[in-house]
Symmetry: C2
């Protein structure tokens, strides 16, 4: 006699595959089934679990209509449950990072329109204010006259618009403004997720670069498993494949080029800086994935000291 | 002796180009200068205006420092003035139509993100609601539970999000909603401009198609001067040039394909319908540009009768 368990219950089968006793489960909770198995094991002392070479007996049994529908439903419920729990912080971060990138595209497009449209009435303002967000705020919050006074535009070559023609432009500016606010909120949300999910990455890489690395690696687990040389080149795939295909120069850094530590390095040291930073980022990802200590501040200090030393050496050479 | 006038005043010159009398203007208003000219003409009876072959005398005179700066300033003021008044309803319509097109792009991009993001927690909703604007409104205004009840989604394979993870999604939906509202406001604004600027075009073509035709023709004046066969093909430039270059079939219609009159025609009659509609649109553009009567309703009736007749013929043939 054999013991066989699956998602709908536990069964005792004889040598011919006939069911001697069955205990059906009522929930999809895996532990409920364990309890049934235990009960049966206590009842049938020393019972053997169905070996692999006899699995066909169980399959034949399960073809019975009595079990088939229940089995299908139970398995579907288990799949749904797995799906439901497969969504984690990685997914939320991916959505947020993508949303931020899209908002950047959108605000750029709409601000270009704003510049052109408002340029019909006060072209001087667009030339004086090059920052997109600032321009949108000014137009949304001030009247045309106020802006002329504020920016000391005595004479304008723009056309004197009537109020009904200014309103649609101002509404566009307001819309752009609230898109910038949303972007800021998403940045904060990203930081909140990272603070619990990957505090070391957040500390060393910052929210923007850290989140992008996680998204490019498709999750914290994958990032933790990547060699640091790959982390160094994440985001430089195009240049890397060009290097492999045509033998062009290999890239020295991916998106970590935007990190202040690499940014502030001397041009000839940037490659080395990127490598050192990627080393530490790789350690951070592993610490975060395996729920290790919060070591990022000491790594940061290490990097800072190295770059300090480099600068002194540079000076003494001169 | 000759009389010479320009933007800074009127002058009496002798045969050698020496200034005998000058009257300088104080404003850039062209009529002020006319008055000065009249005064001098009354004083010097039968005086001749400086003929073209003696214009060099005036040029030499104007090189005098006394006049040069004033002349430059006056001309710049005139140019600015011309620029200021060059902005008309055509420009406002162009900006509005472009803004609407850009808002369409933007809402599409952001709604795709919204679908994917909300799909992590309630994927069934996105499948049930295919309309972008409707989906955004639902997510912005209802909680996840309300939506499940509303759309009868008993079981979901989505992940049960906590409130802090739902907020950013709901904010995105709100943002998309207000972009849709802005689009509606721009449509209304467009109608307001067209009602005074080109009522016939508005009546026959509608705000969207009418405004697009005007933008593609670069203004009402140009549209009024175009032959109706060109109006018929506005927006089909790519197909037209392909026809010219490669001898492919010539296009039968441009953006007027979207007009209900062409849309509702039988497939084999669409080309003819587009031609008839373009004829009438061309008349409308001319009426509007030369401030003629409001004849669009009668054109509309004519077209409606023709399409009615066509349908009856079609039926009698069957």
């Amino acid at each position: 006699m054999y013991l066989f368990s699956n998602s709908i219950g536990s069964f005792i089968l004889d040598e011919n595959g006939t069911c001697v006793e069955e205990m059906l489960t009522t929930t999809t909770h895996p532990q409920a089934n364990d309890a049934l198995t235990n009960t049966l094991q206590r009842k049938y002392k020393n019972i053997q679990t169905l070996p692999k070479n006899k699995l066909h007996l169980a399959l034949t049994l399960m073809r019975d209509k009595k079990y088939l529908t229940a089995l299908r439903n139970a398995n579907r419920a288990l799949t749904n449950d797995a799906l439901r729990h497969s969504v984690g912080p990685d997914n939320l971060m991916t959505q947020t990072v993508s949303a931020i990138e899209e908002i950047d595209k959108v605000t750029n497009l709409l601000t270009k329109r704003l510049r052109e449209w408002y340029g019909l009435t006060l072209p001087e303002l667009g030339e004086l204010v090059t920052d997109h967000a600032h321009l949108a705020t000014l137009i949304a919050q001030h009247s045309r006259n106020e802006l002329q006074t504020l920016k000391k535009i005595d004479q304008t070559i723009g056309s004197p618009f009537i109020e009904t023609d200014l309103t649609p432009i101002r509404e566009l500016a307001t819309q752009i403004n609230s898109l910038y606010t949303l972007r800021q909120e998403y940045e904060n949300y990203l930081k909140t997720i990272m603070k619990t999910h990957c505090p070391n990455m957040l500390e060393l890489a910052g929210a923007t670069i850290g989140a992008k690395l996680l998204v490019m690696a498709k999750g914290l687990k994958n990032l933790a498993l990547l060699p640091s040389s790959t982390i160094q080149l994440l985001g430089a795939e195009k240049a890397l494949f060009r290097h492999i295909a045509t033998g062009a120069r290999s890239p020295k850094y991916g998106i970590i080029i935007n990190h202040p530590y690499v940014q502030n390095s001397l041009k000839q040291n940037k490659g080395k800086a990127a490598r050192l930073l990627a080393d530490k980022l790789s350690l951070c990802a592993r610490l975060d994935y395996f729920k290790g200590e919060f070591k990022a501040p000491s790594y940061k200090k290490e990097l800072d000291e190295k770059s300090e030393k480099e600068k002194t050496q540079k000076l003494s050479h001169e």
